[in-house]
C-alpha cells in the first residue's frame, strides 16, 4: 500500500491566509489576495533554472569515456573523492571543491562529518535555561529540608556546563545572550544557596 504523500509547502502563497497563489498572478508592489482580500507588498523573482549538462556515452563513444557507476548510459566526468567510484555530472556532489558520490555524501551526512550538510543540532541554550529553572525549583522545595538544598550545587553546575557548551557551539549567536545570562544567574543562585545551606548544616 503506497504511503500517502504529506505536502507541507506548496510554494508562493498569500502571507495572510496561506492560500496558494500562482506566481504569475502576483503583481510587484501592493497586491491583494483574491481569497482574504488582505493587502501585502510583494516582490516577485524568477530564479534561473539550474540544468546540469550530462555527457552521454552515445555521444562520446566508448573509447573516450568510462561510464557512470549509477547511470551506465552517462559518461563519467570524475570519480568520488572518498570511494573512487566513477560518477557522471548528475551524481557529482561538490563540497568545498571535493567531489563525492551520493552514497558517500549520505554516509558522511549521517556520520555528522559535514557541518554544512547537518540540519539537526542540540539546543544547548534551552537545555541550560530548563536546567536552571529546574534547579531553582528543586532548591526552593528542598530548602525545607536543610541538607537537601545542596542538590542545587550539582544541578546549577550542570546548567553552567550547558551554558559553556552553548558558548563553544559554532552556531552560537548573540541573540541567545539574554537566555544564557538568565541561565547563569539561576545556576549561580542555586550553587550559592546550596553551598550556604550545606555549610550551615555542617557547622551545626
Amino acid at each position: 500500500m503506497p504511503t500517502p504523500r504529506v505536502i507541507s509547502y506548496v510554494g508562493p502563497a498569500c502571507p495572510r491566509c496561506d492560500a496558494a497563489l500562482p506566481l504569475d498572478s502576483i503583481t510587484a508592489g501592493e497586491d491583494i489576495c483574491p481569497r482574504c482580500q488582505g493587502f501585502f507588498t510583494a516582490t516577485v523573482f524568477h530564479p534561473p533554472q539550474r540544468i546540469t549538462r550530462v555527457l552521454q556515452i552515445a555521444h562520446t563513444g566508448p573509447e573516450s569515456a568510462g561510464s557512470c557507476a549509477n547511470h551506465p548510459r552517462n559518461a563519467a566526468v570524475t570519480n568520488c573523492g572518498r570511494c573512487g567510484l566513477f560518477i557522471c555530472s548528475l551524481c557529482e556532489l561538490d563540497l568545498h571543491g571535493e567531489k563525492y558520490c551520493p552514497a558517500c555524501f549520505d554516509r558522511m551526512t549521517q556520520g555528522g562529518g559535514m557541518e554544512q550538510a547537518q540540519t539537526e543540532f542540540r539546543d544547548w541554550r534551552t537545555l541550560s535555561l530548563a536546567m536552571g529553572i529546574f534547579a531553582v525549583f528543586v532548591t526552593l522545595i528542598l530548602l525545607a529540608f536543610p541538607p537537601g538544598a545542596a542538590a542545587g550545587i550539582p544541578l546549577g553546575a550542570l546548567s553552567l556546563y550547558y551554558v559553556i557548551r552553548t558558548f563553544r557551539d559554532p552556531n552560537w549567536s548573540r541573540d541567545q545572550l539574554p537566555g544564557l545570562l538568565i541561565s547563569i544567574l539561576l545556576a549561580l543562585a542555586c550553587v550559592g544557596t546550596g553551598i550556604v545551606v550545606f555549610a550551615e548544616y555542617i557547622r551545626k
Binding site: 510554494g11 502571507p15 488582505g38 516577485v44 523573482f45 530564479p47 533554472q49 546540469t52 539537526e120
Partner: protein, 156 residues
C-alpha cells in the same frame, strides 16, 4: 560562514529564529531540546512579501491581564491596590499601543521552503530588512556562468 541574526517568528506551538548567511536565509526551528535547520537559498527565492497586522493574541493577553489586575486592585484597595492598578495601566497602554502600531511580517518564499520574520513595533527596521533581502536575492539570481539555460540539454 558567518551568520547574522535577522529576527524571530514565534507562534503558540513553534519557535523560529531566522538568520542570514552569504548564500541563504537559515531558519532554526526549535523542537524541545533540538534545533532543526532549514535554508531558503537566495538563488531559489520566488517571492518576498511584507504585510502588517494586529497581533491579536498579544492585544488580548495585555488587555485581559490589565483588566484582571484592575479587578484585583479594586477588590484589595489601599496601597497594594494602587500598585496593582499601576501595573494594570502599564499593560493597558501596551495593549492599546499594539492595536495602534501594527506588527510587520516579512515572508520569503523559496522553491522548497519559506522563512518568516515578525517585527513588533519596528516597522522602519522591517522595511529596511525587506529591501535588503530583495537586494540580496537580486544579486544572487544574476545569471552566473555555471548556469545553463540551453533547452537542448538532456538528462541521462
Amino acid at each position: 560562514m558567518k551568520r547574522r541574526f535577522l529576527g524571530r517568528y514565534n507562534t503558540a506551538i513553534t519557535r523560529h529564529a531566522v538568520y542570514a548567511t552569504d548564500a541563504a536565509i537559515e531558519i532554526d526551528q526549535q523542537e524541545n531540546f533540538k534545533i532543526v535547520r532549514k535554508r531558503v537559498f537566495f538563488e531559489d527565492v520566488l517571492l518576498v512579501t511584507q504585510h502588517d497586522r494586529v497581533g491579536i493574541l498579544a492585544v488580548m493577553f495585555s488587555l485581559g491581564f490589565a483588566a484582571f489586575l484592575m479587578l484585583i486592585g479594586a477588590i484589595s484597595g489601599g496601597p497594594s491596590g494602587f500598585v496593582l492598578g499601576t501595573f494594570a495601566v502599564a499593560f493597558l497602554i501596551y495593549g492599546l499601543t499594539r492595536i495602534r502600531v501594527k506588527e510587520s511580517i516579512i515572508t520569503v518564499f523559496g522553491r522548497r521552503s519559506k522563512a518568516r520574520i515578525r517585527f513588533t513595533m519596528r516597522r522602519a527596521h522591517a522595511q529596511r530588512l525587506y529591501e535588503e533581502i530583495c537586494e540580496l536575492v537580486r544579486a544572487a539570481q544574476e545569471v552566473p556562468s555555471d548556469l545553463d539555460q540551453d533547452s537542448s540539454v538532456r538528462e541521462g
